[in-house]
Amino acid sequence: MKLGKKVKPITFLLLPFTLISIFVLYPIVATVFYSFYDKGLGSFSLRNYIDVVFATSPLNMLIARTLHSSPPWGALIHNLVWVALHVPLVTFLGLILAFLLKYYVKGSIVIKAVLFLGIVIPPAVGGLVIRFMFDEIVGIFPRLFSYTGIELLSKTWTSYPQIALFALILGSVWIWLGFAVTVFSAALETVPKSHIDAARVFGASMWHIFSKIVVPELKPAITIVVVMTVLWDLKIFDVVYASTGGGPGGSTTVLALVMYNYFARALDYYKSAAVAVILTLITVPFIVLVLRWLKE
């Protein structure tokens, strides 16, 4: 048996891993080093982390000293609030929609294509759309909410610290829901239709089919959607930068934006590196979850 000329694997790996090493791996390691670099001392210390965590200026604050009933609460808290509201909303709505679209709705292809638009467009445009829809003059929602009689909700949401963050979070449901629906719909294809038909024949209610058959079958897909949505929420930048820039009064800052503020406004690169490391540390548990899931 004549074997083909063996090509060394290195010839296939050289170009890709050169790119990755110089532009991703080296800077990741270096960022960790820089985050400990103390300009004043000229050596390494925890100074940057201490300064960053205890910063009090509205645009750079990570955790507010006192948590009032409305933002600014600090970028880290804003990220966590984002996760706490956005993830359940997107997962639950996504599941119900994927279920209804598959078994009950006519023209579901069109609806899925429409929902998907949110993740096709630039997130920066998404941010501007949020501002647009919640604008007092041109927006739809303040006008709708004006009928509730709550004065604040009939204003430009992104201009008031009490509601700006929630406008962004609601808007990010609009941007990201298509992801959940697409993943869940794809996963639903693998659920045997006979299971659901059988349940229907025996008179199971819609809710029963949904909660007892569909949700358990979709568990792996739910894990993916939850983890990817958490990661998306933690890294969020473009949407916030384009809509509010973190304002008003720091009430919509997020970690990635604080990192950018240190980098581009304060020109304090070492503190910027420290924020980047903090942001990454928070994502680590979720990255580990994905790795474990992929191994199975």
């Binding site: 790996l13 069109v110 929902l115 041109v138 930048f237 990454t280």
Partner: protein, 284 residues
């Protein structure tokens, strides 16, 4: 019996109505952007945009202003975005196809570890590389240059598209590759003559996803492109927004210009987008 069927019918109609209303809510912002960009702004302020406009009042003035006025100059941004996104798609896809081939068909030391590394890179926040690259780019004179940002986007692109393409290559029957080996084909020949032609749908999916992802990026553009002649479209877009006063006519036109490319790609390659994402192809 009749009663239950009517009840069922009403339920189905209700569900359809609610879901279609939701879909309408989802496209409403796009309708709003289109109408406000074309309508005279004064009319929008007085009467809102949720109405049928008189056709002769519509104009492309906002689009021309956004593209051609040197203050906004989205035409230059468009050109830069095309260059950056194209280069940042071609380079990583070639690299990733090679890497994915090695990970699928070759054996080498540290294979599992390197692949794990690629998966980790896919999920690590982009913010984690900015500071050292800023120093390095200043030193290499790559800061504020198109090649600089292309290399950066390419490196990230290599990671996820290697993962994506390897999943695709795995579906190619291994017997085909083994047979070619037996007949004396080299790995490069197998790569070019067998694996590549059989993976065209996967490569198209990776191409449109990577192109769209780079096109949509704002964060890296903001951090690595500063001068007006190098800035890409997303940067030009956020600069249309004044600090206090917002000209929604201009901003909606700018938004439509900025998302025109991804939208066209999405319409042309719809199923590749959906499948790519369903197959876990998104990075952000």
């Amino acid at each position: 019996m009749i009663k239950t069927t009517t009840k069922k019918l009403i339920k189905t109609i209700l569900i359809n109505a609610v879901i279609w209303a939701l879909a309408l809510l989802w496209v409403l912002p796009f309708i709003g952007l289109a109408l406000v960009s074309l309508m005279p702004y004064r009319g929008v302020i007085v009467r809102g945009w949720l109405r049928l406009p008189s056709l002769d009042s519509l104009s492309f003035k906002n689009f021309i202003e956004a593209l051609a006025n040197p203050l906004y100059d989205m035409a230059t941004g468009y050109r830069n975005s095309v260059i950056v996104a194209s280069a940042s798609t071609i380079l990583p896809l070639i690299s990733a196809a090679l890497a994915a081939y090695a990970f699928t068909y070759l054996d080498f030391r540290l294979k599992a570890m390197l692949f794990g590394l690629i998966i980790v890179i896919m999920m690590v926040p982009q913010q984690l590389v900015v500071v050292p690259l800023f120093f390095l780019y200043n030193y290499l004179r790559l800061y504020n240059t198109i090649p600089g940002i292309v290399l950066l986007h390419s490196a990230w692109g290599v990671a996820w598209s290697t993962f994506f393409l390897r999943n695709y290559f795995k579906f190619i029957p291994k017997s085909l590759v083994d047979a070619a080996r037996v007949f004396g084909a080299s790995d490069f020949q197998i790569f070019r003559k067998i694996v590549m032609p059989l993976s065209i749908p996967g490569i198209i999916a990776a191409t449109v996803l990577q192109f769209t992802w780079v096109w949509n990026d704002l964060f890296y553009a903001l951090t690595f492109l500063v001068s007006k002649e190098n800035q890409v479209l997303t940067q030009k877009l956020v600069m249309l927004k004044g600090e206090y006063h917002i000209d929604w006519g201009l901003l909606t036109a700018g938004s439509i210009i900025t998302m025109s490319m991804p939208l066209i790609l999405y319409i042309a390659f719809n199923k590749y987008f959906m499948r790519g994402v369903a197959g876990w192809g998104v990075r952000r």
